[in-house]
């Protein structure tokens, strides 16, 4: 069942982009749209959008880079580990939970390291990879998406993102402890 599901999704993922091209452009031809001209017209905006997000991304990535390079995360991990141990979260995976919303490459590194040390099928290995799959790099997404719309006052977006991350990490800890402990 799981294998079938995985095969199905993988096929869908491979076929999706060619399918979208065929359907969109084909539908355009059927509706007598001048597909080439319209495509170029739309594509023009790609440049301005990409350039517009630069300042937002610089601000965010520099702050996260400074935080990561300073070793502050290790201090935070030491500080929080006794608390998270109470809910069945090994301190090794706490570093993962703290890194996940900040940096995609950083959390990938933490996950790879944990698997090398503890093995991919250990409780820590399974928990770390579940955590990686349970969330997105929240602060990167915030910077890029709000950058595209030129949003500076983000209102409740940051608390919402952090609450969602905490929920995802707690759910990952709970379900992995339930199934694999």
């Amino acid at each position: 069942m799981a294998e079938f599901f995985r095969g199905l999704i993988n096929t869908l993922a491979v076929a999706a982009i060619p399918l979208v091209f065929v359907v969109f452009l084909g539908w355009g031809i059927l509706k007598k749209v001048k597909v080439y001209e319209v495509f170029v017209e739309g594509a023009k905006e790609g440049f301005t959008t990409a350039v517009r997000i630069i300042p937002y991304l610089v601000a965010m990535l520099v702050a996260i880079g400074i935080f990561r390079a300073s070793g502050a995360l290790d201090l935070l991990t030491k500080f929080l580990a006794p608390v998270t141990a109470l809910i069945g979260m090994p301190s090794e995976t706490l570093a993962m939970a703290l890194m996940r919303p900040l940096s995609g490459s950083g959390s990938l590194g933490v996950m790879t390291e944990l698997m090398k040390v503890h093995g991919p099928d250990s409780l820590i290995g399974i928990m770390a990879s579940t955590m990686y799959g349970s969330s997105e790099t929240t602060f990167y997404v915030l910077a890029v998406y709000f950058g595209a719309a030129g949003i500076k006052n983000t209102r409740h977006a940051v608390p919402v993102g952090v609450i969602a991350d905490v929920a995802g990490m707690l759910a990952a800890v709970w379900v992995v402890n339930l199934l694999f402990r």
Binding site: R6, I9, A13, F24, G28, K31, V38, V40, E41, G42, A43, K44, G46, F47, T49, I54, L57, V58, M60, L61, V62, I64, G65, I66, F67, R68, A69, S70, A72, L108, M111, K116, P120, D121, G125, S129, T130, G133, S134, S135, E136, V141, L142, A149, K152, N153, T154, R155, H156, A157, V158, P159, V160, G161, I163, A164, G168, M169, A171, A172
Partner: protein
């Protein structure tokens, strides 16, 4: 809120780095100025053509850790090195730090004056009788402010990385915006939006039906679920630009934007491909075992995120930002 998070990341980072450097200095983590006795196995002697000694520094892990502290090396040290002699007879030793070097030296070499090269002055050198080995007493070049240097380097590197990420987006952005425009002109986006109207009306009540933002958001979420991040980001950015057209106060996030971001940062993926690939590479017996647990985790994150965006948008402090000035 982002103001505070942003400044906290920077301030905490710089404070932690400075504190770490002070602690290193107080405890002399890098043993600045303290001589280290090592054995040097000679491979090449000075000759007519060459004025340097080439060979290998040999030290057991125990001796190395005794000098630098526990954890400085995880196996016996065999480090190739070159000793040169200058005109006044002073000997200097140069170590090219590589993969097999001890951990502490690798760490020091990252912040050395010349990257990946450590130097030391040789205080005394005693050759054995058959001249195949020597005992050296050397003092490594001082290493200071490692964390602050790392913070500076990270700031500069990340600024450059941000630009290359953005520039790298131009191609896929152009491609998908072109395709989307064709879909829009052909009426296909309207069709997709109508199909999923019952869902989008509840999630984004502020967005008028048939608005192009809805189609972009639907396609972004579908691409994310399939793990196609190359397609998801351009459509997500297009959705944000479209949502911004409905924004009464430019520069301030709307409710629909925050709900959309909650769905995106929840990261609902049907197949967490990266995690599975890393598990397989690490030799897992069943790399795909995390599919179910990840869906539960990201599902919880997404549902809680949507609920939180709905609840928080009603709080007075966040509503104030959205009131349009009628002055």
């Amino acid at each position: 809120m982002l103001n505070y998070i942003w400044i906290s990341l920077i301030a905490l980072g710089i404070l932690a780095a400075a504190a770490g450097d002070v602690a290193d200095e107080a405890g002399n983590t890098y043993r600045n100025g303290i001589p280290l006795d090592v054995r040097f196995e000679v491979a090449k002697h000075p000759s007519a053509l060459r004025s340097t000694w080439e060979g290998t520094i040999v030290l057991s892990a125990g001796e190395f850790n005794m000098f630098y502290g526990p954890g400085a090396a995880d196996s016996a040290v065999r480090q190739p090195a070159v000793i040169s002699v200058d005109a006044s007879g002073r000997r200097a030793l140069v170590i090219a730090v590589g993969e097999s070097s001890p951990l502490r030296w690798k760490e020091m070499a990252r912040h050395a004056a010349e990257k990946d090269r450590l130097t030391a002055s040789v205080e005394s050198m005693k050759l054995s009788e058959d001249e195949t080995a020597a005992s050296l007493r050397m003092v490594m070049e001082p290493v200071r402010f490692v964390k602050l240097k790392a913070v500076t380097a990270a700031a500069l590197d990340c600024a450059a990385a941000a630009v290359s990420i953005s520039i790298g987006l131009i191609g896929v952005m152009a491609l998908w915006l072109g395709v989307m425009k064709v879909g829009e002109e052909a009426g296909l986006l309207k069709f997709i939006t109508r199909l999923l109207e019952p869902l989008t009306r509840r999630l984004f009540p502020d967005v008028p039906r048939d608005h192009p933002a809805l189609a972009a958001m639907i396609m972004n979420i579908a691409a994310n679920m399939l793990g196609l991040s190359n397609a998801a980001t351009p459509m997500g950015l297009k959705a944000m630009e479209e949502l911004n057209r409905l924004n009464p106060r430019l520069g301030t996030a709307t409710n629909a934007m925050v709900t959309f971001l909650a769905i995106n940062t929840g990261g609902l993926v049907l197949i967490p491909a990266t995690a599975i690939a890393v598990r397989a590479a690490a030799g897992s017996a069943n790399p795909g075992i995390i599919i179910g647990t990840s869906i539960i985790g990201s599902g919880c994150a997404t549902v809680v995120g949507i609920a939180a965006s709905r609840i928080l948008q009603r709080l007075p402090r966040y509503r104030r930002g959205m009131e349009v000035d009628n002055g």
